[in-house]
């Protein structure tokens, strides 16, 4: 009996949770006349997507977002690997203090330091570039922490063996540590990409042209300018901008959830 109630409640919540997305899909795939009228006989159409695609420079936004997430991820992986290794396996004066200072970024993120980072970017002459959106996130305390924890679990014997064969520090890192941390890299990569794909406030502030705007900002500019209340086109644009992540998620659901889980247990 409780089992049935449990199942019912779980499903009710599940349907409630999927409702917004289901509605967005309804409005996007049907003619505007049916945006608020639910009629199973309503004709299906792709016109809303075509309209949205033409109404705003979405290809450029896609390119910018793609550049952004790739650049941020590449920088984060390299920097976090080097720093994570140094914190995990090297001894030097002030290591623990420095590590605490790094961890501070977990709480005080660049996301809230808008005014000062804007000032810095202006000073560097980087305002309104894709680089400026990503730069504050290149060094990631979360990545450093995650890799440090992972590297600490690698048996020292493996490192010794590699050193016997004459490998230097960087070679040991690359040949021994990095391959063993592959699942962690995957997990971190997924978390990072989805985070920066979705980031909004900082890109909104630091960009003001089509050439540098990522999708999220482009979408906002698109839906807040005079599109009337054409919900069909706005939902189509909304789905478009979320589509790559959403499709990737639906295809690799299990890996996605597991990756988030792995990144979550720190």
């Amino acid at each position: 009996m409780t089992k049935i109630l449990d199942t019912l409640a779980a499903w009710a919540l599940g349907l409630l949770w999927i409702l917004p997305l289901a509605y967005a899909a309804w409005a996007a795939f049907h003619p505007p006349a049916y945006a608020t009228r639910f009629d199973l006989a309503a004709p299906l159409t792709l016109a809303n997507f075509a309209h949205a695609w033409e109404a705003a420079p979405f290809p450029r936004y896609f390119l910018n977002t793609f550049l952004l997430v790739t650049m941020v991820l590449a920088a984060q992986l390299v920097l976090s690997t080097l720093a994570g290794y140094a914190f995990a396996r090297m001894t030097f004066r002030g290591r623990d203090t420095l590590f605490m200072l790094v961890l501070l970024q977990l709480m005080i993120m660049p996301d809230v330091l808008l005014v000062e980072n804007y000032r810095s970017m202006s000073w560097l002459g980087l305002r309104d570039t894709v680089l400026a959106i990503g730069l504050p996130y290149f060094a990631s305390a979360f990545g450093i922490f995650l890799l440090r924890q992972t590297f600490k679990t690698v048996p020292r014997e493996l490192e010794e063996a590699a050193r016997m064969e004459g490998a230097n520090a960087l070679q040991i890192l690359w040949k021994v540590y990095v391959p063993l941390a592959k699942p962690v890299y995957l997990a971190y990569g997924l978390v990072s990409v989805s985070h920066h794909w979705n980031n909004f406030l900082w890109p909104l502030i630091i960009t003001n042209s089509v050439e540098s705007r990522p999708l999220t900002v482009g979408l906002q500019v698109f839906s807040s300018t005079d599109q009337g209340v054409d919900w069909s086109v706005i939902t189509a644009a909304t789905l478009l901008s979320a589509a790559p992540l959403l499709i990737a998620f639906l295809l690799f659901q299990r890996q996605f959830v597991q990756s988030f889980m792995r990144a979550g247990i720190r």
């Binding site: 140094a86 060094a139 706005i234 979320a242 639906l250 889980m261």
Partner: protein, 313 residues
């Protein structure tokens, strides 16, 4: 440079003669610093420096035209004290945190327990619960904006269907902030569910069997065994939720712009407005100092708790 020697473990140093040991350990430290340098420089440039310069700039006036910034002492803070909008945004933010965090955590825990059990349609449920997490908040806000639209919106239609009068959810002072809370709960619960799922999967099934043998009811088992065991996860989620409550204002930008009449004004959105709509950077810095203080406090709590759990060595 012989790198093979540099990375020798500290224990092995003891066999080196005194002079060699000193030279060796300074080389070792040099390598460590070289590996840390890029990350440390960027962290300092975009986290530590701006945090400190925010405090510095809060004691100056905003430069206007040819007039440079001048030291004004506590003047900005006096302004802050008398600024009704600031106090409202602070209160709103506290209410927002209070309204979203316990509910999200409760929903997340329920979701995790359901998915962890053998439930019909688990795959679908997991997908449904987790999907909001991968969607951009801006996209989500656009969809919810339509839900809340008077007359045409889904909620309005639903109410009309039941025969109730429509409510202007985003346009009235009473409902704007709660409407934002609902969006946040919907967006974040699935994310927090993941942490609970991870914790639940490390638990042995014999725990439950033992409890059942002792004649414990489901509720007893949850309250006396499961919930205490999940406490570290709950704390972790709590801190994350707290930070997010002060950090995430994307939906405010899209849906209400802090209105009506500042009813949904959150602290970070107010900073954004003061800094980038009114361009009063000094006052925005002063507001940011308050936000940093709040986040700093949660940082302290987190460190104390993390210190107990994972031993830094």
């Amino acid at each position: 440079m012989n790198a093979a020697v540099d990375t020798t473990k500290p224990e092995q140093r003891t066999v080196l003669p005194q002079a060699g040991r000193a030279r060796f350990s300074s080389m070792h430290a040099l390598h460590a610093w070289l590996m840390l340098l890029p990350a440390v420089i960027l962290l300092a440039a975009f986290t530590h420096y701006p945090a400190l310069s925010t405090i510095w700039h809060s004691f100056f006036s905003t430069p206007k035209g040819r007039r440079p910034a001048a030291f004004v002492g506590w003047e900005n803070y006096a302004l802050l004290r008398d600024d009704a909008v600031f106090w409202q945004s602070l209160w709103n933010n506290l209410w927002f945190a209070l309204g979203t965090i316990p509910t999200s955590i409760g929903v997340a825990l329920a979701m995790a327990l359901w998915i962890n059990g053998a439930m019909a349609g688990r795959a679908f449920l997991r997908m449904a619960y987790f999907t909001p997490t991968v969607l951009p908040m801006v996209a989500v806000a656009n969809i919810w904006l339509f839900f809340y639209t008077p007359q045409y919106g889904l909620l309005a239609q639903g109410l009309e269907w039941v025969g109730l009068p429509g409510v202007n959810w985003l346009g009235s002072r009473e409902t704007a902030l709660p409407a934002m809370m609902v969006v946040t709960i919907w967006k974040e619960s699935g994310f927090f569910m993941i942490f609970y799922l991870a914790a639940l999967q490390t638990m042995s099934p014999s725990l439950r069997e033992a409890a059942m043998l002792e004649g414990a009811s489901r509720w007893d088992y949850f309250r006396r065994v499961l919930f205490p065991l999940l406490m570290p996860t709950t704390l972790f989620v709590l801190i994350n939720a707290l930070i997010n409550a002060f950090r995430l204002v994307d939906h405010i930008v899209v849906m209400t712009k802090g209105g009506p009449d500042n009813a949904s004004m959150l602290l970070l959105y107010y900073i954004y407005q003061v800094g980038f709509a009114y361009w009063d950077t000094a006052y925005a810095a002063t507001l940011t100092v308050v936000l940093l203080a709040i986040l700093g406090c949660s940082a302290l709590i987190k460190f104390r708790w993390l210190d107990r759990r994972t031993h830094y060595q």
